[in-house]
C-alpha cells in the first residue's frame, strides 16, 4: 500500500512537472478527466477496454450512429444504406469529410479498413466485433458494399458501434502501433499528445462534419490515468480533475452530499450472474449443480433486492434473464425466482443435500458483491471455498470447464441485441456451462433470422428454457456513477461511453 501511494504521489508530481496546468478548467477551456485503467493501445481495434471505447467515439466515426437516447440509427460517415441481399449491405458515403491529417474520406478508406480488420491474420483484439464481415467492395468513390460471411441481423448495430473508419494511406504506413501513438480519424476530437497508458490530450476538431454526434464544445480534453479511486477523489477535491467516472456507489453517495459536485448515475448493459456447472464438466464429484433442484435453490438463496439496494444502488435493477432487458429479443416473460431461503433449503434437502455441500466459488471483480453472495449461499448450507482470480485466468479455467460455481458479469460490448449475451454463452462454446441442445437449436434460428418477430419468438423460447432449468442465476444490472464539478454540464448515456461532444461548461 505504501509503495502504491508513493507511486501515485510520484506520478502526480511528474505530471505537475510535465506542465499540466494545475487548475485547468473553464477559464482555459480544458476538461481534466481521469481513466482508472491503463489504455493499452489507443487504436480501437487493438484494445478491449471501456476507456478504449471512449477514445474511439471521440477520435473516430463509424458509418452509422445509434442515438443513445432514442436507439435510432442515423447516418454518420454514410448518409444512407440498404440491404442488397441477406449478406450484402450498400452504403452511400458522406462527401467532403477529411481526416485529421487532411486525407479525404472516401470509399477507399472504407474498403481498406473493412478488409484489414476482417482478416483474422491482422489480429484485431475483439474478433467478434469484426469477424462477421467478409470483405468490402468499392462501387464508386462514394458508394461501397460490405459483404457478410453469413446472415447477421446485428450488422447495423455493430457498424454503429465498434467498427470505425480509418484513413487507408496513413494506416497502411503507420499500422496499429503508429495509430496508437499518433491516432488519426474523422472524429470530433483529434489527439495532440499520447503518453501510452498514461496521458492523452484531445483537441477540438474545428472542421468536424455535420455529424449526429453533435459538434464539440470544449476545446481541450486532458485525460490522465489515475488508478486509485481515492486519489481521483482527492484530485477532484483539489481541482486538478473535473470529471471522474466509474466511481463506486459508496463514495459517490458521499460526494453527492457535497455542493461542489454533480453525481449522475446511469445504468449500463453489464449484467452480473452466477454460472453453474450444469453440464457437469468440472471435476467435482458428485456434482450437485447437475441437479436442477440445486440450481433453483441457488436462485432462491440470494437476496438480489438487498444487494441492489445496498451495494450497487443507483439505477441498477434485479435481472431475471441472461441478457439485459433493453436488448432486442431479451424477452422478460421468463421464470423468475424470489428470495426464499427456506424454499432453497427444502430444494437442497429434496436433492439429497439436507446438510448442504462445499463447492469452489470463483469471482474476478467486485469482491464485496461476491462475498455477499457467498454469505447468502452459506446461509442455506452451500459452503463456499472462495477464489478471486484475474479475469483472464478465470476465463481460461472456465473454458476448460473446471469451474463449478462462479460470479461473472458480461457487458455485451454495449450491443443492444440479445445475441451479444445469450448466444455468446449458450451455443455450446467453451464457455457454455449448460450445453442444452434445445437452447442451441432455438438460438441458432433466432441468431440467423432476418424476421424480427421470429427472432423474438425464438429468443423467448431459449430464455424460457434457460431460466426454467436455472442454468444461471441472473442477478442484477450494473450502473456507473459520474462525478463532475458543477461547472460541467453532462448527461451520461446508458451505454457507459463518455461522450465529450455532449459536454459543455455551465
Amino acid at each position: 500500500m505504501k509503495n502504491l501511494s508513493l507511486a501515485t504521489t510520484l506520478a502526480a508530481v511528474a505530471f505537475a512537472a510535465a506542465g499540466v496546468p494545475a487548475l485547468a478548467d473553464k477559464a482555459n477551456d480544458t476538461l481534466n478527466v481521469a481513466f482508472t485503467k491503463e489504455l493499452e493501445n489507443v487504436d480501437s481495434y487493438f484494445n478491449s477496454s471501456r476507456e478504449g471505447v471512449v477514445m474511439q467515439r471521440a477520435v473516430w466515426d463509424g458509418l452509422i450512429y445509434r442515438d443513445p437516447a432514442t436507439n435510432e440509427y442515423k447516418g454518420n460517415l454514410a448518409t444512407s444504406w440498404s440491404w442488397v441481399d441477406d449478406t450484402t449491405l450498400e452504403f452511400k458515403l458522406r462527401e467532403g469529410v477529411t481526416f485529421h491529417n487532411g486525407e479525404p474520406f472516401n470509399a477507399d478508406d472504407v474498403v481498406f479498413t473493412v478488409n484489414f480488420v476482417a482478416d483474422p491474420a491482422n489480429g484485431v483484439k475483439t474478433q467478434r466485433n469484426v469477424n462477421w464481415m467478409k470483405s468490402a467492395e468499392k462501387i464508386d468513390d462514394y458508394t461501397v458494399r460490405i459483404h457478410l460471411k453469413e446472415k447477421f441481423p446485428a450488422a447495423i448495430e455493430f457498424l454503429s458501434g465498434p467498427v470505425s473508419m480509418y484513413p487507408n494511406e496513413y494506416y497502411a504506413e503507420a499500422g496499429p502501433s503508429g495509430m496508437g501513438l499518433k491516432p488519426v480519424g474523422t472524429g470530433p476530437y483529434k489527439v495532440t499528445s499520447v503518453v501510452p497508458g498514461q496521458h492523452f490530450v484531445l483537441e477540438k476538431n474545428d472542421a468536424y462534419h455535420d455529424s449526429p454526434k453533435g459538434q464539440p464544445a470544449i476545446r481541450t480534453i486532458d485525460i490522465r490515468t489515475v488508478p486509485d479511486v481515492n486519489t481521483q477523489i482527492a484530485e477532484i477535491f483539489s481541482g486538478t480533475l473535473d470529471l471522474i467516472w466509474q466511481v463506486p456507489a459508496d463514495q459517490a453517495g458521499k460526494l453527492s452530499a457535497m455542493d461542489q459536485f454533480t453525481v449522475a448515475n446511469e445504468s449500463t448493459m453489464r449484467v452480473g450472474y452466477i454460472s453453474m456447472d450444469a453440464a457437469g464438466r468440472s471435476t467435482m464429484d458428485p456434482n450437485p449443480f447437475t441437479d436442477v433442484r440445486v440450481r433453483r435453490a441457488v436462485n432462491h438463496a440470494i437476496d438480489r433486492n438487498a444487494i441492489v439496494d445496498n451495494l450497487l444502488k443507483g439505477s441498477s435493477k434485479v435481472i431475471n434473464t441472461p441478457c439485459f432487458p433493453s436488448q432486442f429479443g431479451c424477452v422478460q416473460d421468463v421464470t423468475s425466482y424470489d428470495y426464499d431461503p427456506e424454499k432453497a433449503k427444502a430444494l437442497l434437502a429434496e436433492a439429497g443435500y439436507a446438510d448442504g455441500f462445499t463447492t469452489e466459488f470463483y469471482a474476478y471483480r467486485n469482491r464485496d458483491y461476491a462475498e455477499a453472495i457467498a454469505s447468502y449461499l452459506n446461509a442455506v448450507g452451500i459452503k463456499t471455498d472462495f477464489k478471486m482470480l484475474q479475469y483472464s485466468a478465470l476465463r481460461e479455467l472456465n473454458m476448460k470447464g473446471e469451474v463449478p460455481l462462479s460470479f461473472l458479469t458480461w457487458g455485451s460490448y454495449s450491443i443492444n441485441d440479445a445475441s451479444a449475451m445469450v448466444s455468446q454463452f449458450f451455443k455450446h462454446g467453451s464457455l457454455d456451462d449448460a450445453r442444452d441442445d434445445q437452447v442451441l437449436a432455438d438460438l441458432t434460428v433466432a441468431d440467423s433470422s432476418t424476421d424480427p418477430a421470429e427472432r423474438i419468438d425464438f429468443y423467448g423460447k431459449a430464455l424460457k428454457r434457460i431460466t426454467d432449468q436455472a442454468y444461471w442465476a441472473p442477478l442484477f444490472s450494473y450502473n456507473t456513477n459520474y462525478v463532475f464539478k458543477k461547472s460541467v454540464n453532462y448527461t451520461p448515456t446508458p451505454d457507459e461511453v463518455l461522450r465529450f461532444t455532449t459536454m459543455t461548461w455551465n
Binding site: M1, D250, A306, I307, R367, D368, E371, S375, F386
Partner: protein, 298 residues
C-alpha cells in the same frame, strides 16, 4: 549458632536468583507491556466465541458501515460494521485468532528448520557448515514477499498455504543467528569437558549448547512471529492471503481501503491493532532477551 563474621555465611543472605529474576522482569517496562498485550490478545483469540458480541460472518446489508461508538455509533456494534454489515469488533476478535495462529505456527516451523540447520552448521563446521551457509545465501537471495506472492498465486490463498509458505520461508534468520551463537559456545571449556567425559553429540547439543544460546533464539522467535503476522496481513491485503469471509486484519484493511477518504476508521482500527500487536511482540522479545541473557544471570 552462626558466626556473623564468617564471610561465607554473609553472602547467602542476599536475594535468591529467583528474586533477582522477578526483579528484573518487573523492572522491565517494555517486557511487561509486551507480555500483557500478547497475553490479552491470546486470551481474546482463544475465547473468541465467548467474547465476540456477534457472529463475525453474519451479514446485514441494510446495516453497512455503521460508525464505531466513539464516532457516534451505538453500543450494538461498538466498533461499527464493515462494508457488508458485519460487526467490526467480532471480526477483529476472530482476526486475532488468524494473526496469532499464523504468527505462532509459522515461527514454530521456521524455528525448527532454522535452529536445526544453524546449530548443526555451527557445531559440526566443515562441509555441513558450507552446505548450510550456501542454503542460507540462496534463501537470502530470494525476496520473501515475491516468493510468497508467487507461491500463493499458484497454489491459491488459504490459511494452510499461507502458514506453510511463511513457515518454509522465514527460517533464514534462525539459521544465521543459531549458527553464530553455536560457533561462539562450541569452543568453551564446558563443551570440551562434556566431550572429554564421552557425552553423546545429542546430549552435548541439547544440554550444553542449547541452554546457552536459547536467549538468542527467543529474540528471533518473536521477531519472526511479528514478521509472519505482518506478511500475512500484507498478503491478505493484496488478496492473496487468507480468503474471505475468514476475518483477517490485513483483509479488513484491504476491504476498508476504498472508503479510506470518507470512513478512515475502517482502515485505522485493524491497522492500529496490527501495529500494537507487532510492537508488543517485539518489546516482549527484547525484554525476554534482556532478562534471560547469561551475562545478566549472576
Amino acid at each position: 549458632m552462626s558466626d556473623l563474621s564468617d564471610p561465607l555465611l554473609q553472602e547467602i543472605t542476599g536475594p535468591t536468583p529467583g528474586q533477582l529474576l522477578r526483579k528484573r522482569v518487573f523492572g522491565h517496562q517494555g517486557l511487561i507491556f509486551g507480555l500483557a498485550v500478547v497475553a490479552i490478545l491470546a486470551v481474546v483469540a482463544i475465547l473468541a466465541p465467548v467474547i465476540a458480541p456477534h457472529d463475525p460472518y453474519a451479514q446485514s446489508l441494510v446495516a453497512r458501515m455503521k460508525p464505531p461508538v466513539f464516532l457516534g455509533g451505538t453500543w450494538e456494534n461498538p466498533l461499527g460494521t464493515d462494508h457488508l454489515g458485519r460487526d467490526y469488533l467480532s471480526r477483529l476478535i476472530y482476526g486475532a485468532r488468524v494473526s496469532l495462529m499464523i504468527g505462532g505456527i509459522a515461527a514454530l516451523i521456521s524455528g525448527v528448520i532454522g535452529t536445526a540447520m544453524g546449530v548443526a552448521a555451527g557445531y559440526f563446521g566443515g562441509k555441513v557448515d558450507a552446505v548450510v551457509t550456501f542454503l542460507i545465501n540462496v534463501r537470502l537471495a530470494m525476496p520473501v514477499v515475491l516468493v510468497a506472492l508467487a507461491v500463493v498465486a499458484i497454489l491459491g490463498g488459504s490459511l494452510t498455504v499461507v502458514i506453510a509458505v511463511l513457515g518454509l520461508l522465514l527460517w533464514d534468520r534462525f539459521a544465521v543467528v543459531m549458527r553464530a551463537s553455536t560457533l561462539q559456545v562450541r569452543g568453551r571449556e564446558y563443551v570440551a569437558a562434556a566431550q572429554a567425559i564421552g557425552a553423546s553429540t545429542p546430549r552435548i547439543l541439547l544440554s550444553e549448547i542449547m541452554p546457552n544460546i536459547v536467549n538468542n533464539l527467543i529474540v528471533v522467535v518473536t521477531l519472526e512471529m511479528a514478521h509472519a503476522i505482518l506478511l500475512e496481513a500484507a498478503l491478505s491485503f493484496l488478496g492473496l492471503g487468507v480468503q474471505p469471509p475468514t476475518p483477517s486484519w490485513g483483509l479488513m484493511v484491504s476491504e476498508g481501503k476504498n472508503m479510506m477518504l470518507f470512513e478512515p476508521w475502517l482502515v485505522l482500527i485493524p491497522g492500529a491493532v496490527l501495529f500494537v500487536l507487532v510492537l508488543a511482540i517485539n518489546l516482549m522479545g527484547d525484554g525476554l532477551r534482556d532478562v534471560t541473557a547469561p551475562e545478566n544471570r549472576s
